[in-house]
Symmetry: C2
Subunit: 332 residues, 2 copies
């Protein structure tokens, strides 16, 4: 897969809007560190850098209320934003919650949603600072999170040839849950990866501290997200198929359906694991310290190359186009 | 109308969620100045105070696409948030745009939306720093704005007995436009107050600088919003009916439909004018300087009293319960 073509899709849409709006000058106390195109915006104020992100979840698009319980939905709506803060190496500060709800969801259902959100907020020390509630026919949840990082956040754009690529946790678990729900076989699989993603805040902070060059969270799947990081950095990569950490639920689901587990896993969205690029000495320290200090598994999944293309390298030495492997299955 | 009963409705819902979430401690560099219950959250960082707000607009609830053109919708989606920044006496810094759109709205329609948003962003020096776009069956726009104020923002809670109440602009213009649209008589009325509200940023900053004690923006109508400010401050008020600035479109519409123009105007939402409480000497300075320096009309509409009740005083000396005057018409 070549990487020098312009990006399309969701990111491109917001960039098109931003181009029509143009640049505005910031008040004196502020300096723009990162604008559109990274996991969060970053604004320097004094010696602190603010991180700022928002993510909208819509009923019928991102979730179905007959599938997900309200507490898990509350957890997830905050966790996906914290994952963006983690991807910059930052610490969350507070959240705003914009909510649209049908009248029948304002009682016990809303309390359960709040409790799930609270569980996530307490786990990662996030204050709820405000919000906006509206009546609507379908549930819409838009959480905005403000975070902070002392010094420079880790952008998507810093990866250099020779860097190692690392991934936290295991991939494809969320997709396995989603496929099981679609197939009506949810009882056969662990739904926690799909319902309760874990924002990797400690890992992100450690990676920044030790000198990671680029980082992002895997919200759309490695096959879709890695090209974004590479394109942003102006480099390419080889990914070692045998070293991609596949979630047990993904292996189980893929094998039961005659699919290749690695291909299934890298095309799976919503894992919210971190993808990290770092020079080999930094990567080696991360591979030692991250599991020991944060409890999160960390795998060395590939290497950054100068050529702007991305390959999946099989154990037998054969190479496949990463995008085709990913996207064919994703579309299927 | 007595004011010592607990508040109900939208604000109460977000407070109920916040109670279930509880307090979280902020990172060392931050101090919470104002949390839930004001126009924006306020966080002190160094010598700056950050202001942070978000407002969600939903198709079918807040707007109809056969009524509002996309450029006006773009303007309004940002302007309503800037109005919250104005209500604290702050200056906007940047915005995040979360957007859900049907596929048929991603072309020229979206460009027009972006252009309207851009017009507002340029008029008030706001940078678009990021966003999130999603496909959906109906349009949802959630804009989050970050602002800043050097020193203390003006809260809703600072009004004291003896303060004068001031209001910018004229009231009821947005409601007149909405009623004309509902009646299919839009050509008969100026729709600008409904489609293109003016955030009163200069007025808010001047009011803060000169020493206003309390401030909020009129998004739900004076009849609904004044009680919020008074309840938050633990005081009451008398409003002089003859001094309420009624928008010409509201006068026109009310008279054509046999309604009292003042009652119609104070029950009208979405004017996004500022309601300001200030000690008389400060209020007098504002009444001189605001029209001269910002071009915005400013009216002395009433006085804060110690008793926790609110009255509308007629020119003939008679008093009416403010809430009933407002809400009856609003419900009608």
């Amino acid at each position: 897969m070549r990487l020098d073509a312009p990006a399309e899709g969701e990111g491109a849409l917001i960039e098109r809007i931003a181009r029509r709006i143009g640049q505005a000058s910031l008040p004196d106390a502020f300096r723009l560190v990162l604008g559109i195109g990274d996991d969060t915006a970053a604004l320097q104020i004094g010696e602190q850098t603010l991180l700022w992100t928002a993510d909208m979840l819509l009923e019928g698009i991102h979730f179905r209320l007959d599938w997900i319980d309200p507490a898990s939905l509350g957890w997830k709506s905050l966790a996906v934003n914290l994952s963006d803060i983690a991807a910059m190496g930052g610490t969350p500060v507070g959240a705003l919650l914009s909510l649209a709800l049908p009248a029948e969801r304002t009682g016990a259902w809303l309390d359960a949603l709040a409790d799930g959100l609270a569980e996530c907020a307490r786990a990662y020390s996030v204050a709820l600072l405000g919000g906006d509630t509206n009546r609507a026919e379908q549930v819409v949840i838009d959480v905005s999170v403000l975070g902070v990082v002392a010094g420079r956040p880790v952008p998507r754009s810093g990866a250099r040839a020779g860097d190692w690529l690392l991934a936290t946790g295991a991939l494809g678990g969320s997709r396995a849950g989603l496929h099981a729900l679609i197939a009506g076989e949810a009882s056969a699989i662990d739904l926690a990866p799909h319902f309760r993603p874990i924002p990797r805040l400690q890992v992100g902070a450690l990676a920044r501290e030790l000198g990671a060059t680029a980082m992002m969270d895997l919200s759309d799947g490695l096959a879709a997200d890695l090209p974004k990081l590479l394109r942003s950095s102006g480099v390419g990569a080889v990914v070692y198929a045998a070293q991609v950490p596949v979630h047990p639920a993904a292996t189980h689901w893929a094998q039961a359906h005659g699919l290749d587990p690695v291909a299934f896993a890298i095309a799976g969205g919503e894992d919210y694991e971190l993808l990290i690029a770092a020079p080999p000495p930094v990567a080696q320290r991360l591979l030692e310290r991250v599991p020991a200090e944060t409890g999160a598994p960390l795998a060395h999944i590939g290497e950054v190359i100068a050529a702007q293309e991305v390959w999946l390298q099989r154990a037998d030495g054969g190479r496949e186009s990463f995008a085709i492997t990913g996207w064919d299955h994703f579309r299927a």
